[in-house]
Symmetry: C2
Subunit: 513 residues, 2 copies
């Protein structure tokens, strides 16, 4: 297509077109609406066995709700057998309680065009969550700061294929633990207009997030709508701690969404077998989501499954492995049988660098995420070193690959234009398609286009310095940050948010625990 | 698992176990027998439309058989409409002719344990094919030589997850074009005992390959059994040249297998749309396989589809893209509806280096290859720079990932051991699984284990030099070559093969065209 494109520039306006090619357009794709089937790895019989076993686990073994008398009372009232902190749930009760959870929900963004519908055939992509370290090619690996955090929020805002601003894109370790949620939420609210996540490190911090949302969206709107999706991890195996449950209770009461997610390193926090892990995952999610519905029937929730396997030599968690893929596919089937939105997969890797290992592992995980029917993919870009590091380069590398997921999800059209019989007739044996009418009419939309990877001939690539993917990514990070423009926000709201954060911070001493 | 393993070593024999850990075992996995479903992206209706359109292409437009009067006569005799070199095939005729092609076949290796069954639910993995250049970390990019070729054959022999020795693992450019097939085949026959491919660059060279196989396997055995699978490319769109068809004719007459494969860069050699490309691919394969059955009914063949897309900016082929994945999934469905073995996918990438780009693109392609039901995957490791380069490092990097495909293909067992209910009972809420009886009994087989990637803690990895994947791969290449041991071969056969090659080479002057 180079030739016709060059020809057109001769008519004038070349400079404008060059500007068009080099400028960074700030654009956000709509969340993925899959036009492809899910991949179903388990038979119905296998799913039945796992479901029956999960009920046995809940009934015979039960789960612990730790340091949470109110939760134990809720379970007693619901008909569970509570002994100490152990909650044994009669067969079928948890599944019954889960029925009030919605099959999908809308999470509103302050830009209504960026609101997302979580569930059904949709896939919403959110960035990496949680790492205490950051890495970039220049500065290497170091503790993350609030400055890093703001940069990641900006990169997320500038990334077309990212639908969601996420939550703790890195841990801003230079801000007190009891105050950093305020700065983090303020950054998401003011530096981006995409939907975001709330804090889960303490119930009172979750409450702060609700109050900041009330400033941003209006009090009434928040009570009637979901404006946050937050991550509630289960302490696998089968423990629900008071901190996470405390945050869940705040969010559920306020009709805000939570991912209820076992945190599994297979072989350590779950059995070494795929079917055994799926059984435990299902039991844990059933108990967790049932509990959310005891707090508030109808509260929006997501069936979560964070899955890695373990290197039996070193004990290290491993990512992008076939066993994790099988569990992810299977958990998707279990989630669909419950009629619940599903969260799993991500840009997972164990590598210390954004190198080939990182990319193999990540691509394995992103592909299985798309095909397993994931509805909300946390960590979809930027994850490095088993989740210890948020990588600037890998953020833009993965975010580029997310575009490929959009392309794959489009599926195959067989309308008359797509059948292309006229093109085949026009070109004929031995011809070529570059110049034919059908190609001219369709080439702009036909193929996914990378914003990062290199397709140049060897000679050109060499002359330009023979850059590897990391070098290309370093340049793209800088380009995106240079071109960042803050989305507009009502100055009164911005001022009120800043004041809220300042008041809250002033109201308590710093704590770093 | 580190703890119990260390304890056991105290009983003595630590040196033996260390040796076991560091030695390279020469082992070849059985070809993959999938215990997972195929991914079906197209509906039955869509497949019907594409099949009808392919028949229309064959009937109305037809295909060219170039410089091949004998082929034109065969088509005339079969009832086709032949005008000049254009062959128009009445609706249904090609599909009818394809019915004599077997749904699967065994390709015998000289080590019978390494014979492969191509078709059904199986997946046979073969290395990169065709690049004129090689690259390694030390020497960079350079023209390939016979020495490089032999090293790749040795690496293939040493690679557990590679079932097949392949063919032109790189082009030995230091040997005359009209003689290099002899050296290449001799290397496959003597340096490895895995199955291999024959030459397709001229009918007489294909004949040489058959004769060398008669020396290796015995004349009668070759006439009764398939001992080569060779790659016949179609000049898409819809041209069958005399060189490739000449080789096909030799192989088919000798009951040797051929991959009949359109060579598609979407947008250049086929329409820019997925459905249009699938239509052309099917028409081309129908014509090619029908032709093989006209030469010898029952000759073993594979439905091939080599698919890349095009970067509309530069005209460069692109790999690991979503459009190529959709075509690969769809072509698999079309092949299964014909009841034929299917070849597609590979370690495809456009990157100049074995970096993150290469790994993303490759992982995308390998995953789609497994799930699309591919039976024979050429290029499954070592491909770089759009097929211009065979990379030593990428060969072992990709070959390691092929192990992950084996793991995924195992699917999910739900037998009593896999259900792991005893483990879940033993561990209970808040416990951990590392030391439990079920983990102890199963951990060795539970997870796919890399022989290359790094899972060490950051500190250990840093102390060891902070190596990236390429550096790890360089070391592994050297380790495999250092540990290479030539498989035994009857000295009389080895001598006869060497003599055959020497005589053939002496019988003609060098030609570099």
């Amino acid at each position: 297509m180079a030739e016709p494109a060059r020809k057109r520039t001769r008519g004038g306006g070349g400079a404008a077109r060059r500007a068009e090619r080099t400028a960074v357009s700030i654009e956000t794709a709509k969340y993925i609406e899959r036009n492809i089937p899910n991949y179903e790895v388990l038979t119905e019989d296998a799913l039945d066995i796992i479901e029956q076993n999960a009920e046995t686990v809940l009934e015979e073994i039960g789960v612990n709700f730790v340091d949470n008398p109110a939760a134990l009372q809720r379970w007693r009232d619901a008909g569970a057998d509570v002994q100490g902190e152990r909650v044994r749930i009669p067969r079928g009760l948890a599944r019954k309680l889960c029925e009030t959870a919605p099959s999908q929900y809308t999470q509103h963004a302050r830009d209504p065009n960026k609101s997302v519908v979580v569930g059904g055939k949709n896939l919403v992509l959110a960035p990496v969550y949680g790492p205490p370290f950051v890495r970039d090619a220049e500065g290497g690996r170091r503790y993350a700061t609030m400055d890093d955090f703001q940069k990641f929020v900006k990169l997320g805002y500038m990334s077309k294929w990212l639908h969601h601003s996420g939550g703790t894109v890195c841990e801003p370790t230079d801000v007190a633990v009891n105050k950093r949620h305020l700065d983090m939420l303020l950054a998401h609210m003011t530096l981006s207009d995409k939907p975001f996540m709330g804090s889960v490190t303490a119930p009172e911090r979750a409450q702060d997030c609700v109050e900041m949302c009330e400033i941003l969206f209006g009090k009434e709107f928040v009570q009637e709508n979901t404006v946050m999706t937050s991550l509630i991890n289960i302490n696998s195996p089968m423990q629900f701690d008071d901190v996470m449950m405390g945050a869940l209770e705040v969010y559920a009461k306020n009709n805000q969404a939570c991912i209820i997610s076992p945190f599994i390193v297979g072989g350590a926090m779950a059995p070494v077998s795929v079917a055994g892990t799926l059984t435990q995952v299902l039991a844990e999610v059933l108990a967790g989501i049932a509990y959310s519905q005891l707090v508030r029937p109808g509260a929006p929730v997501i069936f979560g499954a964070f899955v890695s396997s373990i290197d039996m030599g070193s004990g290290a968690p491993t990512f992008g492995t076939p066993e994790a893929a099988l569990i992810t596919y299977g958990a998707g089937q279990l989630a669909r049988r419950m009629g619940l939105p599903y969260r799993s997969a991500g840009s997972f890797c164990g590598s210390k660098l954004p190198d080939a290992q990182a990319a193999y592992e990540t691509a394995n995980s992103l592909n299985m995420g798309l095909l397993s029917g994931v509805n909300f993919m946390l960590h979809s870009c930027g994850w490095l070193e088993g989740g210890l590091v948020s990588s600037f380069e890998k953020f833009v590398m993965d975010a580029d690959q997310l575009g490929a997921l959009h392309g794959l999800a489009k599926g195959v059209s067989v309308d008359e234009n797509a059948q292309a019989m006229d093109a085949i007739r026009e070109v004929g044996p031995g011809g070529h398609y570059l110049g034919c009418a059908h190609t001219q009419a369709n080439f702009k939309e036909a193929f996914w286009k990378t914003e990062l990877l290199d397709y140049k001939p060897f000679e050109t690539w060499s002359e330009e310095g023979g850059r590897d993917t990391v070098a290309l990514a370093t340049a793209r990070v800088q380009k995106l940050l240079d071109n960042y423009k803050q989305p507009q926000l009502d100055p009164e709201i911005a001022e009120a948010l800043t004041q809220y954060v300042a008041d809250k911070k002033a109201s308590m001493p710093d704590s770093f625990t």
